[in-house]
Symmetry: C2
Amino acid sequence: MSKIFRRLVDVVEAVKLLDEALHPSPLGVEKVSLDKAGGRVLAEDIVSKIDVPSFDRSLRDGYAVRYEDTSHAREDDPVKLRIVAEVEAGSDKVLYIRRGEAAKIATGAPIPGGANAVVMVEYTREEEGYVYVYKQAKPGEWIQYAGSDVMYGEPVLRKGTLLGGREIGVLAAIGVTEVPVYRRPRVAIISTGDEIMSPGSPLKYGMIYDVNAYTLYTRLLEDGAEPEYLGIARDSPEELESLLSRGIRNYDVVVTSGSTSVGLRDNLYKVLSKMSGRGILFHGVKASPGKPTMAAVVEDKLVMGLPGFPVSCLMMYDRIFSNIIRRMSGLGMVEKPRIKAKAGFILRGREGVKYYHPVFLKKVGGETYFYPIHGGSGAITALANADGYIEIPENVTYIDVGEVKDVSLFSRRIKPSDLIIVTSHSIALDNLVRDFKSRLSHAHVKVIYGGSTAAVYAVRDGYNDFGGMHILDEATGEYNIPFLKSIGIRDIVLYRGFLREIGFVVAKGNPKGIKGFNDLLKRDVRFVNRTGGSGTRVFIDINLRKVADDQGVSFDEIISMIEGYNIEAKTHSSIVASIESGKADVGVVTRPATIDRNVDFIPLGWENYDFIVNRKSLSSDGVLMAFLKYLESDEAREVLKGVAGIKLDDTYMSLLLEL
Amino acid sequence: MSKIFRRLVDVVEAVKLLDEALHPSPLGVEKVSLDKAGGRVLAEDIVSKIDVPSFDRSLRDGYAVRYEDTSHAREDDPVKLRIVAEVEAGSDKVLYIRRGEAAKIATGAPIPGGANAVVMVEYTREEEGYVYVYKQAKPGEWIQYAGSDVMYGEPVLRKGTLLGGREIGVLAAIGVTEVPVYRRPRVAIISTGDEIMSPGSPLKYGMIYDVNAYTLYTRLLEDGAEPEYLGIARDSPEELESLLSRGIRNYDVVVTSGSTSVGLRDNLYKVLSKMSGRGILFHGVKASPGKPTMAAVVEDKLVMGLPGFPVSCLMMYDRIFSNIIRRMSGLGMVEKPRIKAKAGFILRGREGVKYYHPVFLKKVGGETYFYPIHGGSGAITALANADGYIEIPENVTYIDVGEVKDVSLFSRRIKPSDLIIVTSHSIALDNLVRDFKSRLSHAHVKVIYGGSTAAVYAVRDGYNDFGGMHILDEATGEYNIPFLKSIGIRDIVLYRGFLREIGFVVAKGNPKGIKGFNDLLKRDVRFVNRTGGSGTRVFIDINLRKVADDQGVSFDEIISMIEGYNIEAKTHSSIVASIESGKADVGVVTRPATIDRNVDFIPLGWENYDFIVNRKSLSSDGVLMAFLKYLESDEAREVLKGVAGIKLDDTYMSLLLEL
């Protein structure tokens, strides 16, 4: 019974297979009240059951008359008509006037029978039961005839219309209060994996929070579905099958994330293969990120198998499944928002797959450029920082600087940034940016965290306007200046920033009694190092050389005595987390990285965290210039004074280097 | 205390006055759960309280090792390491390995302390508690370090961000489940007028349904507000004041519609002037439609006074107030969707006001044109048919054919139509269009109802592709052909359509015993005529001439004997409604106009309802050609057979005339 696809398909093929298997279309019709109908999709043509207006209606305050009675009226010689009635708006009196008669009438009031025109009050005078008309009336003048707007039986809105304010108004006008709309597809969401836990309780060691359930929930809502979260299936085929069966039984569609690859714990393919229905439509997509994506039809219900990595999951939902759900909900396919932009930096493709490269947008001299965001498909920051993505086809090795491409935007609201800050992370700089933005609210500022070297090279590569760095030179013991001089970079300016305290991080109470670098040599002390090239690593090695000198042994001998010297963490956080969890006993970090953490800090010295500026980004009216002015202000100094573990001296914002 | 503006302001001035008086900004912060946060606006910067990942994590299935242990590993000469542990994803065991040791590890599992690389399972072989490693590992290989994605203390989302799937995913990843968002402004909606009733019960004579309450309700929801409908204030200052006070007391903003002009029943200005606060900000806007628009600040609350006519009300809400509400809800101002298009027909401005002219869009040979929609600010059909509007500035008298203008679209989903049908209304044609559209779902077909002459002149003016007409020539007794020949129109083709039964409409049971046209001469019979030029009017006059001939008197004598001959209704509906309400006793209409109405129909004969085609709109691959092919199909004939009161003969779809 089951058709099995074990080869990779491309995205277009995947969509085609889904189309052919499902013919996605609305699943049914339900009635909702008019005030709940906004955003829903009309499931039937709406034919008016009334005339609008439903009676001949006066468009002015005045007198309803027979126009032929007024044919001799002149400004200096009025016609005299007997007032036989008065009609207010909302009146339900059915009247009739004959020749020589008139009825006083208000705007919106029903025209009496026998009347064929209204004379505006401005051209009349009323006296003792008579009206003097000073102007000839034209046939039908100031009468809105019944049905002249909408006629009984006229279709006013067509099936498939998305109901907004305008359409809701039309429905109200013809008295429709229960609106036939397409029912929303009910979609069950299942996450998979032993290491996944739902946000809400503190994260346990070795676990990560479930992201995809929330991402998909929100995206499904946007696509007109009614999502429900069934929970997390642990890495057992039985548990997965049980949740899948529940989803298939009670919902229109099931969407899972994770467990779609070909590893030992990837149970989805195995479980779905056994279930009855048309089986697996595809397993594996020629796309990156997103290769482990699959789809199956079980008992006529679509089961989407999305990758576990958040970026892959969201991208594959958007590229392959979003429009399927939109067609089921009646919203219909949408064109994703796109803009044309120039590549600001080289972007490489991936062999044999269509590569969806996350990018951010930057305004440079009136033109919009896109730049790659790195971090991989597992990275949340790629999700948070990207404005959209570009597609690099299978056969394209790279996109060169200056090439114009379509950027698919993550939302229509996205605007290119005016100021890009790629920087080594610092709470002090965060606070400065936040305060600056509150003062210059129209500025689009994007902050991307990388290391110091990433910040510097992003200036060289043209897309970084400003950043913070702290790279120590081993030979001179000086921060930042030697490094910038050594790499041959141009058009960069270095300003003095602030000082950050640096020291040992140890378990609460310092159980191993660490006081100085020579304590790292103790047999029972497990050290965790920083990666080579980082400012902290240079600081560590300078200090270990001093220990070696003191003890009269070589540097190599010293480091061979330190358990964990080769265990190099790429982040301060990794070091703090290693100490917190008990995996290691000591590391070297900045004081701000230990604040509010369950560790102790033992001060060793201060490092310079300085500011770099891209000289090419400077223009007199630019946001960067405004930010530099702000940094020199008393307000900025006040902000810095409020941050723990840092200090300023009077060289703050002095020019250190211009290249 | 009150500042009073009694002069007209333009739209820009109105917005400025509101800005200065209100400084619109979010009204407060509330916490919502993550699954309810989609579409809301973040009220605070979100700083991560965890590292992501929170531990060093394996990116592959394999073995955690010390890379220095593998430095001699070769494809033909493996390194042998002792397996001291096995780590699954989700494991909370804190392990440590030393030199010569390895831990079996799964993708996503925590890296043991002491390990500094992972070797993929593909490059290993396991045997009796040992792993043989066939490839050298690089430092840090396949390890995702704690905090390498998001570091503890890193800001991940900024205040003011609209939360979509992507942002919700980021919040989930860092374990945020209660999200600080701006609270929605609570807005009270009040309608005014004695003639207004809420949809839901049958419409009483002289009443119209409340449209604005529903339009505004839906638009306010879209702008991030929480609207509530307080009901209809009758035309009494006391009732209006009481509802207004309730609104001002319990809500953030009050929006009213109607009662904003300067007539006797327009109480809003008077009532608001007396209330305490900054008073009236403006009363009267230099815009059409929408002149009677006002705003006041009462007890620091904004009161919007919108016009009663639905189109005016919606347009003024959109132009003036929508962005104020959006700024209060934190959504921020949006640029309205616009496209550039060419004027397909002349559009006239209005002196002294900015004129917002409703238009529809049409695709002609790859280019987009806009055409005016007529019907006035009271018309629901203008709302239903328009795709958007263009602004004609105060000092511009007209926009000429071919001028390129910005069209403000009513929604982003709007697409230019491929086929425009301006036509005399017919249920039979409606059914044909519906069936056609169900067969060619990608076609954008717009149907606009006008009379037969409107249909013909819209072909002459270039924007009508197809229509139905039924104009009788008095001299020849022939339908449509003489009329088209007489007006000197070109590039029009006439096809035979179907026959529609025509006859008297009378009250149920025919109480006045109407059998023929001579019965109209009876003293107690009140006739209601059609306007001159309509096919029905010609039919009536032909028959009355016969009565005159039979009786040997002049036509003028005959018509002077008919009560109501000069009461000319512009629509069939007006006639049927006059009979239903008892305002008149007899009129002449087509049978389809009487179906399901509370009247009787007395047959008199058949009229030709024929099809006109704009020859210039024909192109071999166009939607018009497809529609003509459809009309000739058996499916179309089947549809027509199902319609009451019409018939087809074998001349159907034969060519009658080509000009």
